[in-house]
Each structure stands twice: as structure tokens, then as C-alpha cells.
């Protein structure tokens, strides 16, 4: 076939079983030549006769139009196959890629071993590894997706649980804080009133507004504290005496 036809070259020459029953395009590729001639004569007019539906096949296969294929220019009579051994040939003409192209252009006339067209063992291993990494099967991908989603949901649930727990603690914390504030306020107030009282006391005693930092003031404060301690001790003792007096009275009364 000097003019080299285009379209699906496919199974015109071999009848392969293939992974799925493929279609052969014998009829159309053989028709191409006939209809090309037909098209040339009927220049502008459509070349087909009702290709629409094969509801009523009229014995003749339906004619179809096609574009003339471009001439391939393969140079099959004088192929240029570079000499592998000489030094003058450039490196790129000795590579395996160029060998494949030579085989593709000239076939077995190129003198290239067809077995070298396929990937070698090492290359095949590399390709398989790459595929396993970058193109995992659907189940693996789905599992990954599921795992990722699970992790996401776990993280989200943990966060929400934490937030819920903390929110449950909130009323108590709010009450605590408010109590704290109130207490500190009242303490401040107390402190202020105590200081005012002491200042008034000092004023009474000494007759003038005494500076709280002066030694006299401090002595006065110390004295007042001592007196208060004594009073407290007396009160405590009285309480103890009362307690000692009260229990011995009660049990004998209860027992008797």
C-alpha cells in the first residue's frame, strides 16, 4: 500500500482476542479508496448515500466519505540507518529512543532487535513501582479517603467534647469568679475602713493627723494589736471553760 492509509490500522492483518471484543474497520478502510475516487469526481456534492441507519441494508455496504491521507514519506527504498559503531554519528542517533523510531519507520529493515522495543526488567520494575505509588486501585483510594475522614471526624468530636466539658464547668467558674471579685472588694473595703479607724484613733490620741508611715503610728498599731490579742485569748479561755463545764453536765444528766 504505497499511499499508506490512515484511520484505525488495527486488526486488518491480525485477528487478536484482545481484552475485550474489539471492532474491526475492514469495510471502511477498504472503502476509503473507492470513496476517495468517488469524492474527487463529485466535488462539492456529498458523497454518501444514506449512511444513517442500517435498518435496511441494501446488500452494498454504505459508502462513507473520508479525507485523503497525508503521504507518509517513509523513504522505504533508501532508508537512512546510522552506523552504531562509528564515532561520527551523533549520540542521539545511538539511543534506544531513536532505535524505536527507526523500527517504527522501517520495520525489520532497520535491523533493530524487536525485543528491545519493550521496557527492560529494570525499567519495568520502575514503571510498576511508579504505578503502585501514583495510581493505587480504587479500593485503596477509597480506604485512604475513609481513613482521612475518620481522623477528621475524630478530631472534630474530641474538640467538641472538650468544648462541651468546659462549657459545663462554666457556671461554676463564673460563680467562683464573681465570688472572688466580691470577696476581694469587701476585703479592700475592710482594709480601708480599718486604716481609717486606725488613723482616727491616732488622731484622737495624738491630737493631729499623723502620717501612717511614721514610727509613732506603727507603735500605736502594735499596741492596739496586742490588746486585741489579749482580748481574743480571754474570749477563747472563757469559751473553753464553758465547753468543759457544759459536756460533763450533759452526759451525767443523759446517763442518769
Amino acid at each position: 500500500m504505497a499511499n499508506g492509509e490512515r484511520g484505525i490500522v488495527g486488526a486488518t492483518f491480525v485477528s487478536p482476542p484482545g481484552p475485550s471484543c474489539g471492532g474491526t474497520k475492514m469495510a471502511a478502510s477498504m472503502l476509503c479508496r473507492r470513496t476517495a475516487a468517488l469524492c474527487r469526481t463529485l466535488k462539492g456534492i456529498s458523497c454518501s448515500k444514506t449512511v444513517l441507519s442500517a435498518d435496511s441494508p441494501r446488500g452494498l455496504p454504505p459508502q462513507s466519505a473520508s479525507y485523503n491521507p497525508r503521504p507518509l514519506r517513509l523513504n522505504l527504498h533508501r532508508p537512512h540507518i546510522p552506523d552504531k559503531d562509528s564515532e561520527k554519528t551523533p549520540e542521539w542517533q545511538k539511543s534506544s529512543r531513536y532505535d524505536r523510531k527507526l523500527f517504527g519507520r522501517y520495520g525489520s529493515a532497520s535491523g533493530i532487535e524487536p525485543a528491545s522495543l519493550w521496557p527492560s526488567r529494570a525499567e519495568l520494575d520502575r514503571m510498576t513501582a511508579e504505578e503502585n505509588e501514583w495510581q493505587p486501585p480504587l479500593e485503596v483510594m477509597l480506604k485512604n479517603v475513609q481513613a482521612r475522614e475518620e481522623e477528621e471526624t475524630q478530631r472534630r468530636l474530641a474538640k467538641e467534647k472538650l468544648i462541651a466539658a468546659n462549657m459545663a464547668k462554666m457556671p461554676k467558674m463564673v460563680a467562683d469568679w464573681r465570688r472572688e471579685k466580691r470577696e476581694s472588694k469587701s476585703k479592700l473595703k475592710e482594709e480601708k475602713s480599718r486604716r481609717a479607724k486606725l488613723l482616727a484613733e491616732a488622731r484622737e490620741r495624738f491630737g493631729y493627723a499623723l502620717d501612717p508611715r511614721s514610727p509613732k503610728f506603727l507603735e500605736m498599731v502594735a499596741e492596739i494589736e496586742k490588746e486585741e490579742k489579749k482580748k481574743k485569748k480571754l474570749v477563747k479561755r472563757r469559751l473553753k471553760d464553758e465547753q468543759l463545764a457544759a459536756p460533763p453536765v450533759a452526759p451525767p444528766a443523759a446517763s442518769s
Binding site: 481484552p19 469495510a27 454518501s48 449512511v51
Partner: protein, 281 residues
Amino acid sequence: MSFPKKTASKALGILQNLPRISLANLRPEPGAKKAETRRGRGQHGGNRSGRGHKGERQRGTRPRLGFVGGQTPFYLAIPKYGYNEGHSRRPQYQPLSLRRLQYLIDLGRVDPTHPVDLTQLVNARGVTVQPLKRDYGVQLVDEGADIFSAKINIEVQRASEGAVAAIERNGGVITTSFYDPISLGILIKPVPFFLRGQPIPKRIRGYLADPEKIQQARLALALKYGYTLPDISKDELYHMLSMRKDVRQIFFGLAPGWVVSMPEKKILKPTDEKLLKYYRS
């Protein structure tokens, strides 16, 4: 030139006696050639030579495009937004309307008695796909769904619902498949690929749908669009209509791993088990 039949011989006589065509006998059609404007010459082209009166217009010192006299120009005042961000990475699908498909079938450029593939469409010059411009194939658009009346087995990459309905209404079969860019380049130009001498690669697989769900979906679509779903199994072209490519197959009738030798018209198949296992997986 329409001459009545009686003067046909006269016309032929005239034609035979006319002198040889030469440059001296030819003249352009009136109105075909328009004289060019020569600026700076004559009453109308001269004086200010079409530049206007004074100012930047005549003096040629107009500011750049978009400048609006100092006010913030429109193209700077409008805030940025990523409408076109990553546009060059978005997959594109060349649209193919059902009207065009019907046109191709009517002219006989696409053969409906065999499965219609992207290769067939490109051979018929019905679509032009550029894999290097992020085209991932062809999508069927439902313009012309009302005039579409062909029973075909077609394989595209995307299809609108109306297009699917139109094809199935006529008893055809439509399949959507995925082609990665390398496989697409091979699919649209098979002969340059075969001349490269490489074994046919495996197509990167897309997602397969459940056949039962497909049947249910077909019924639902028939109900939605209001036609009765024709039974394909009773058709005489059933074998052709049921032809489908394997997930890893690029061409009908050719398996991955085969080398096609164009000059000798032979197919070479590998025999090594590892290679076979790789190409069959």
C-alpha cells in the same frame, strides 16, 4: 453563464475564438480593489493628515491605554478576585453538538455502522482536539437533539443529559470514558504514534459504573424525557452496539503492549510473562 440551448453552439464558437487570456485581458471585478488612503497627499489626505486639530491627538502624545487623567483607573479600582485563577490547569472538553454529529453522519464522514470513537471523529475532521491545551476529550452537547435521528454506538468523554436521551431514544448506545493526556494524544493521531515504534501504553483507568445502575438510569431518563426505551438486544446491529473498549484499551482491536509495524503491516506482541502481566493489569 446561462445560455439557452439554441445558442449553445454559438457560445462554444465564441469561446473558441476568444484570444488567449493574458494580463492585458484581465481586470478586477468592480468594487474588488479599493484604493488605499495615502496620508499627507492631496486636498483630502493632506493638511492635518487625518490626525485632528492640535492637542495630544495630533501630536501623538496620548497617554497609555487605561489612563483616565489621574483618577484611579477602572482596571486598578476594581479589586482582584480569582475568577481566572488556575484557568490554565482546568480540564477542557471540546463541545460536539448533536446537530454537527448528524451533519457528519449525513455526509458520510462518520460511519454509524461501526463504533464511533474520538479517532473516527478526528479522522472525519468533525472535531479538533488539542491535548497540549489541556483538552481531555470531547463532550456531547444537546443542541440539535430534536433533529438527531441516527442509531450509533458512540464513545465520548462527557455528555449532557439531553444528548444521552437523544441518542438512546434512537436506539443508540453512548459511553463516557476517561483518557489521560498521553492516551488522548495517541488516540487522535494513531499513525504518528505507530511510527514511533513504542508499545501501545495502558490507558490510565477511570471510574466504572455499575451496569445495573446504568440500566436503571436509562429507564429513568426515558421516563423523564418522555420516550420508550428501545430494546437494543433485539436489534440486528446488537453486536456492534454492544462493543465497548476495555478500561485499559486505547484502540478497538489492539491491546496494550502491542507494537504495530506500519511498513510491514504487522503487529508484534510480547511473550515475556512479566510484560504480559504488566500490560494486562
